[in-house]
Amino acid sequence: MKRFLGTIWAVIWKDLAAEMRSRELLSAMLVFALLVILVFNFAMELDVATRRSVTAGVLWTTFFFAGTIGLNRSMAAEKDRGCLDGLLLAPVDRAAIYFGKMFGNLLFMLLVEVLILPIYSFLYNVNLFNGGLLLVILLGSLGYAAIGTLLASMSVQARTRDLLLPILLFPVLLPVVIGAVKASNGYLSGAEMSEILPFLNLLLVYDVIFISIAYMMFDYVIEE
């Protein structure tokens, strides 16, 4: 168990170290996220009345789109530089490699989200610092990273690569989209807990199911 956790940490650390030296991924995700918000601003006329109902949707669309950049990049880098073969040659449990990559992706996503939230609050004068909302963001991003890492490791091995990932990802991600947007909306509009709870449960169930599925399937996906 200790060895397993050690491997996970080593993979996360490798991704973090590579990112700290290049700073390619995080800056690209962040700038892209800002651009998505900018586009939404003019596409939907985010005036005070509309903003109240669409904030959750705009935020999550931004996170999901920025997330695909991160997922694509993180697996493509492994594949291009022959890094993945190195990882697979290492005498470690392959599930640990999956969890390492998954938590790495989750971490990058959370970093972007933590930076986007205050910017959005500042731009549109809404207070997004709400404990419940942060919980929803954590659960939603976890589900996203769990299934996203699995599908990204398939799509980098296909000819169409980064073109393929969003097409594979979004139809199976729908429960997260519904749960995350509805629960966030609930917290932002100050709804009763009984209205929010089903959607939190949905996110939780999705996270548990898809982490287990990815855990079982990862071996098949990277088998050579």
């Binding site: 699995l150 091995q157 729908l174 599925i213």
Partner: protein, 232 residues
């Protein structure tokens, strides 16, 4: 080159016959529904085609599991056949449903759980074929295909339940509908005959098509292998 099995030819004939009978029962034998009128007749084939889509969906998930357990390319051929049939029949069910919904719900489309789930299944299966297209190695293509059908098979029901957390207007003709359902009706006995016969007929058609498609897949593999051998 294998010959077409005699049983398959028999099944072809039976399939055409039951389809004709089902059409007769739905269009002429069953009485016209009092409120909705003739458009309600769409219902018999609508449910039956959705049922075939569902059978294909289940068969695809099962074949996916079997492939990952056995690593036998036979299950990959079965999986592709099931996915393809499911894709086509869910599309027919959606089209028929829209024809019915336009006069009854006064809209072609609504984001109801059933409608959305059928549409999402279509998207998952389109993505499935795009994934397969991008991979040349047959063994890896089969592996990825199986993984993705399984991911879809788990995610689609969760999507259905997720949307059920909102309200639905889709009628439930068998079982208890929700209070908000619109366009529901009680079936008379001759309607039931037409309905269950349509389900039966389309099950036969499903088996027939499934068999044909698996056979086609196997023949295509043989052709591919023969071509590879000719090259060397």
């Amino acid at each position: 080159m294998e010959r077409k099995p005699a049983l398959l030819t028999v099944l072809d004939v039976v399939a055409i016959l039951v389809l004709l009978i089902a059409a007769y029962l739905a269009l002429i034998y069953a009485p016209t529904e009092a409120v909705m009128g003739a458009v309600q007749r769409v219902f018999y084939f609508h449910v039956a085609t959705a049922w075939v889509g569902m059978l294909g969906f289940l068969a695809a998930g099962f074949a996916g599991v079997m492939y990952l357990v056995r690593h036998d390319l036979k299950w990959d051929t079965i999986e592709v056949a099931a996915v393809e049939i499911s894709l086509v029949f869910f599309f027919i069910a959606i089209a028929l449903g829209s024809i019915w919904a336009r006069p009854v719900w006064n809209t072609w489309w609504t984001w109801d759980p059933r409608l959305t789930t059928a549409a999402v299944t279509e998207l998952v299966y389109l993505a499935y074929f795009m994934l397969r297209q991008g991979i040349e190695d047959p063994e890896r293509r089969a592996r990825f295909g199986a993984v993705y059908t399984l991911v879809g098979a788990v995610s689609v029901p969760i999507t259905f339940m997720a949307i059920r957390l909102f309200r639905t207007i889709h009628p439930v003709v068998i079982g208890t509908p929700s209070a908000a359902a619109q366009g529901g009706f009680a079936m008379s006995s001759s309607m039931k005959v037409a309905f269950f016969f349509a389900l039966f007929a389309f099950t036969i058609i499903f088996i027939d098509l499934f068999w044909h498609r698996i056979r086609l897949g196997r023949l295509a593999n043989q052709v591919e292998q023969a071509r590879l051998q000719a090259q060397f």
